[in-house]
């Protein structure tokens, strides 16, 4: 094949797979057939102007899922639309909203998007549709960028207000009296990209929605809900915990797709002893280059902003050497100017841009048309996100291809050794716990600020009185003569609650290296002593920073950029105390439980380790207070008989190694970041007098991870056993039983032996 010759995606893939090292990397190569469109007529009740508007844009029928959503809404039900990327989900909410406004100009709708860019994008789409239908529509984005002079106009006259949960939480709900026209006439609440509202963020958003619905009830409106989501497991359960309402789930897409090929690759092992594999980005580059030289529109997803820039530089370099279309290759990530981003999106739609290297910013529903090939550098962290990103490739009729190249991280390696998990398995559930006590209390404060609570009034499932009584002890809330609970404080509670982290009390990291100090990040208080202690090397966007000073009382860490050949690793003495057992069942080799625990961590020393060799270059002491966290945990207590005859140190190593593998598999199963799950092992638990492996929820109060692990114990153990068994390293590596520093030379062997006891039975077929 010549370097620059147009070719089909299949030809490109076949040519790539003829190269021996790439062929050796393939762990799965699957073809999915094309699917024709399933059309449905426009509903008879649809406003004539909207029919005309759609006709002007060439639409005389809908896809079946759009029609089903409209019908369910027409019947007064709440709906959740769960279909793939670019299947026309947004029409499922724009049409009913425009129908409502066409029938009654006083009607209002509120759109929630997780990012500002999506709000802008959908405003353009909504206005275009209204314009085509020749409907007068006052729609506006209300977010932090909205200029002050037009804010009051939007408040009083905006028929459709597009915003984000943070803005709703901090600017709209606390000022609801200025929005009374909206709250009195609210017909629809649209929650797009609902699958992103999971974990801590989701738990916060669920409470923000409780507050929203509470105010709607006060103003006498009963808005219908329209949720849209990428394909995830049990979407109805997500909708129920996010909104507190049962919804009609519409998950059969009627949008057509061309044939698609999905290829998973795992770079070959280059050092079996350490389990080191070939470069992910190197392979991604070769693949992306082949597609672009064949004139195929390609999107590459990198895992970080730095990854985007590195790939962009290398690919442009390669394209220049071969006189390729380098000007038609663009980067896309947060930090680019909005106008620049809009230009790239338009360029993708009209094919003037041939290739784009993006962070997950383009995974969301921004309209960039459909491309020929998607190349994922690493597993995006969940099955749902993987399909979202892969779904960016997929034209209506022509074939497309999606490739994922695994990185050497434990989670990626788990996926690479279990391709069926991704290809055949159902996507994960998005989990959240709106009743996390800490989050719940924070939002009850905010809700009391907004409107007094009636005695016995429910907030979520249960009456809030006990929470309010608790808050009244602090003096922020008081029960008045009429029995209602009123806010009684000067504070503005919403401003004290950041939605995207669990605790307000974070340590802020300040870069003092530049001309003026700049905040570059935050770490939660519990994690701070091991991450930003004085002398630590803090990594941020692949840059190294040295922590010069940690002002503990002010919660500030002062850092400056450095370029050194080592990193630091803090050691801490972690103790875990069981406070309450919620459930306990017998399990193979012992018992499984979950409940409430207290984790205490005292950072003791830190080591300086050389990057490549992990050689110890020195150490220092950490003088910081012991941190305590009150959270939930899942634990596996071993029957002492199961490890009868083992030496104590063997049990110790086996627990740590098995625990690491369980931590990895657990984070895959729960669609969470591996850091969200903490690991503690005890050779002899003071509480249970048995060897125990604990996985605890890294958020104060927990967001339900522990309970889910308890439920999925069998899958968790089988997965951990397979992960260790199938890892090509010889004696344990970061991808299976953890760094060898932790477990020593017998780690993998012992962990494997232990896991075989805890999860007996044949190894599940990998495919």
């Amino acid at each position: 094949m010549r370097l620059y010759a147009p070719a089909t995606v299949d030809q490109v893939v076949d040519a790539l797979l003829r190269q021996p090292d790439i062929a050796a990397s393939v762990v799965a190569d699957e073809r999915r057939p094309a699917r024709p469109a399933e059309a449905a007529p426009l509903p008879v009740w649809l406003d004539q102007r909207l029919r005309d508007g759609l006709a002007r844009r060439g639409l005389t029928t809908l896809y079946s899922h759009q029609a089903a959503a409209l019908e369910a809404l027409h019947e007064g039900r709440d709906v959740m639309v769960v279909t793939p990327t670019a299947s026309g989900k947004s029409l499922c909410y724009h049409l009913p909203v425009l129908q409502a406004v066409a029938g009654d100009p006083a009607a209002r709708a509120l759109y929630l998007f997780p990012t500002k860019a999506l709000s802008q994008d959908q405003l353009v789409a909504l206005e275009a549709l209204a314009g085509a239908a020749e409907l007068e529509l006052a729609a506006a984005v209300y977010d932090g960028d909205t200029p002050a002079p037009i804010r009051s106009t939007i408040r009083t006259a905006g028929q459709v207000v597009l915003t984000n949960p943070d803005m709703l939480h901090a600017a709209i709900l606390p000022h609801h009296t200025k929005w009374f026209q909206l709250f009195e006439q609210l017909r629809y609440v649209v929650v797009d990209e609902a699958h992103l509202y999971r974990g801590v963020f989701g738990s916060h958003v669920a409470n923000v929605l409780r507050r929203l619905f509470r105010l709607c009830a006060h103003y006498g409106s009963h808005p219908q809900l329209i949720l849209c989501s990428a394909t995830i497991g049990r979407p109805g359960a997500l909708a129920a915990s996010l909104t507190g309402c049962p919804v009609t789930v519409i998950d059969h897409s009627g949008a057509p797709t061309g044939p698609r090929r999905v290829v998973l690759l795992n770079p070959p092992v280059v050092d079996a002893r350490l389990g080191v594999r070939g470069s992910t980005y190197g392979l991604v580059e070769r693949i992306a280059l082949a597609f672009m030289r064949a004139e195929r529109q390609t999107i590459v997803f990198a895992r970080s902003r730095t990854g985007v820039e590195v790939l962009l530089t290398h690919l442009r370099e390669a394209l220049r050497e071969g006189r390729g279309p380098r000007e038609r290759l663009r980067g896309y990530r947060g930090g680019y100017l909005p106008s620049e981003r809009r230009a790239i999106e338009a360029g993708l739609r009209d094919a003037s841009v041939l290739g784009v290297i993006s962070t997950n910013a383009l995974e969301l529903g921004l309209d960039i048309g459909r491309l020929d090939a998607a190349v994922l550098a690493g597993y995006p962290g969940s099955v749902a996100a993987t399909w979202q990103q892969m779904g960016r490739a997929g034209r209506r009729l022509e074939p497309s291809v999606s490739l994922m190249v695994a990185s050497s991280s434990p989670v990626d390696q788990y996926i690479a050794s279990h391709p069926a998990y991704l290809l055949a398995g159902s996507p994960e559930e998005a989990r959240l716990d709106p009743d996390n006590l800490h989050i719940l209390l924070a939002h009850v404060r905010a809700a009391a600020f907004e409107l007094p609570f009636e005695p016995g009034e429910r907030f979520g499932e249960a009456p809030a009185d006990d929470l309010l009584a608790f808050l009244s002890e602090e003096g922020h809330v008081r029960q008045a003569d009429d029995g209602r609970w009123y806010w009684a404080s000067e504070n503005f509670p919403a401003s004290e609650i950041p939605l995207r982290t669990a605790a307000a009390d974070n340590v802020v990291i300040i870069d003092t290296g530049g001309p003026r100090p700049r905040v570059i990040g935050e770490v939660d208080l519990f994690g701070a002593p091991t991450v930003v202690h004085e002398g630590a090397i803090y990594l941020h966007e692949s840059r190294q920073y040295h922590v010069d000073r940690l002002d503990w009382d002010e919660r500030k860490a002062y850092v400056r950029p450095v370029d050194v050949d080592h990193f630091t690793q803090a050691e801490s003495a972690v103790t875990l105390k069981i406070l309450e057992t919620f459930a306990r069942e017998d399990a193979e080799g012992g018992s499984r439980s979950h409940g409430e625990v207290m984790v205490s961590r005292l950072a003791t020393i830190y080591k300086k380790l050389r990057f490549t060799t992990l050689e110890n270059l020195g150490w220092g002491r950490i003088h910081l207070p012991e941190m305590e966290m009150h959270t939930t945990a899942y634990w596996l207590a071993l029957d002492p008989a199961a490890v009868a005859g083992w030496r104590r140190d063997e049990v110790d190593v086996a627990l740590v190694g098995a625990g690491r593998a369980m931590q990895t598999v657990g984070s895959v199963l729960l669609m969470s970041d591996p850091h969200d799950l903490g690991l503690v092992t005890q050779v002899r638990s003071p509480h249970l007098q048995q060897p125990v492996i604990y996985l605890y929820d890294g958020v104060p109060g927990g967001v339900g991870l522990a309970a889910r692990l308890h439920e999925r114990h069998d899958e968790l153990l089988a997965g951990a056993r397979d992960l260790v068994a199938s890892c090509p390293c010889d004696a344990g590596c970061p991808a299976c039983t953890g760094p060898r520093l932790e477990t020593g030379d017998d780690g993998k062997l012992l962990a494997g032996r232990l896991l075989a006891i805890l999860a007996p039975g044949a190894r599940r077929a990998a495919a």
Binding site: T177, K178, D481, F582, E628, H630, G704
Partner: protein, 431 residues
């Protein structure tokens, strides 16, 4: 549902109990008041009666619960006709109502309550001050009823920063109770007025500063506003009424002071002989206000009064009469009273300093564009150049003038030369 998860009330009670025992630092806000003693059972009537006794007021029964009203009469004659003439948009048919609130916080979000509304309205020469107190959150509907009842139809509300704070906050309270706020006839916010008229001679535009500097009143032991919310919360918790007395006094003073400021405005700044005895800076500021409102003739006479006030032997030295005269002349020129303006400019050229510079410049423009005499204009511009040079020698720079002047001089020289040539046609083209 997984056992032990969401919504299990017994479990939640246990978890709350453990949270109580824990170090709060990790979980909730940082400022924690001491745990209060258990509150006595609510007795709204007694609570209101205690408050009324402490404040020397009366209990008023209403929706939601009783409120407390404190009424007082203060002699404060107001010359309405004089006030109506000022550029404050006061309509004599709309009764003035003074209003100032004390609140549980800053901002106008839904969690901030006005617990004391201080009001004032005139009955002849007497100002009736009415303070409406909220003894308990529950009685807010009654408080809002009482406010509505006090406001006559189409009232003109008079506040200090009430346009951005007090009134929007009260509107929010009505909205929260799903009621329409009372209709106002007009709203006069004295804060921007004070900034325009008096700020030039005061350290800041806070009401106490204006009161001291303009109405010559000095408060004793005034309560800092930051202490107000805490005192009210303490009262709600334990019923202690004594700390509220200072809040009541502070609010009453604020209401009365607004009345006094209107009195000062009517007495000192209304058109007439009195204005010449007022602070010349205030009168000049009023002239500017009139000019901006388009009341140019009145502005011109107000400038005259300001200049007359400057001439007074006791006039403060802080006002630059020359600048005021320049503004006056510029306005007269705009009004077409150029002869008068020229007289003023001519007079100002003898003053020296920057004023003379601007006077010569104004004359240069006038001679060029209106008298159409480039030679005379050139002479005036030459004076400007001479004065600028002298100032430069003293290390004083007048940058915009220096930047523009060369072009002006060049143009005037050219025009003057052209005029000369045209004046001598016979000698022109032959050569």
């Amino acid at each position: 549902m997984v056992a032990g998860m969401a919504g299990d009330p017994i479990l939640r009670a246990q978890r709350l109990e453990r949270l109580r025992a824990l170090d709060h630092r990790l979980t909730l806000a940082t400022h924690l008041p001491p745990r209060p003693s258990p509150a006595p059972p609510p007795d709204p009537a007694r609570r209101a009666a205690d408050l009324a006794r402490a404040l020397d007021g009366t209990v008023v029964e209403g929706r939601g619960g009783p409120i407390v009203a404190v009424t007082e009469h203060v002699s404060l004659p107001l010359d309405m006709p004089a006030l109506v003439g000022l550029p404050l948009d006061i309509d004599p048919s709309r009764p003035l109502v003074l209003l100032d609130t004390e609140t549980t916080g800053l901002g106008t979000a839904a969690g901030t309550v006005a617990f004391l509304i201080g009001l004032g309205r005139w009955d002849g020469a007497s100002l009736e001050v009415r303070q409406l107190w909220l003894p308990d959150h529950a009685a807010e509907p009654a408080l809002l009823d009482a406010l509505e009842a006090f406001l006559p139809p189409a009232a003109c509300l008079v506040t200090y920063n009430g346009r951005t704070f007090d009134w929007p906050l009260l509107v929010a309270r009505y909205r929260l109770h799903r009621r329409s706020p009372p209709e106002l006839g007009a709203h006069l916010d004295l804060l921007p007025v004070a900034r325009q008229l008096w700020r030039h001679r005061l350290a800041d535009a806070r009401l106490v500063s204006v009161e001291a500097g303009v109405a010559h009143l000095q408060r004793h032991e005034d309560l800092p506003g930051a202490l107000v919310p805490d005192r009210y919360f303490a009262y709600l918790r334990d019923g202690s009424t004594r700390p509220l007395l200072a809040i009541g006094r502070h609010n009453r003073e604020d209401v009365v002071t607004m009345g006094r400021l209107l009195q000062v405005l009517a007495r000192e700044l209304a058109a007439g002989e009195a204005r010449r005895l007022a602070h010349p800076g205030d009168v000049a500021a009023l002239a500017r206000l009139l000019r901006r409102r388009g009341r140019r003739d009145e502005a011109a006479s107000c400038y005259e009064d300001a200049l007359a006030a400057c001439e007074r032997p006791d006039a403060p030295r802080t006002v630059d009469a020359g600048s005021v005269a320049l503004e006056h002349a510029r306005l007269l020129a705009r009004l077409g009273r150029r002869a008068e303006a020229r007289g003023i400019w001519q007079g100002l050229t003898h003053r020296g300093g920057e004023v003379a510079l601007h006077a010569w410049l104004a004359m240069a423009k006038d001679r060029e564009h209106h008298l159409r005499d480039p030679a005379a204009a050139l002479a005036a511009a030459g004076e400007v150049e001479r004065l600028l040079a002298r100032r430069r020698a003293m290390g004083l720079f007048t940058r915009d003038l220096e930047r523009d002047l060369p072009r002006r001089l060049q143009r005037l020289r050219r025009r003057a030369a052209e005029r000369q040539v045209r004046a001598m046609p016979s000698r022109a083209p032959r050569a």
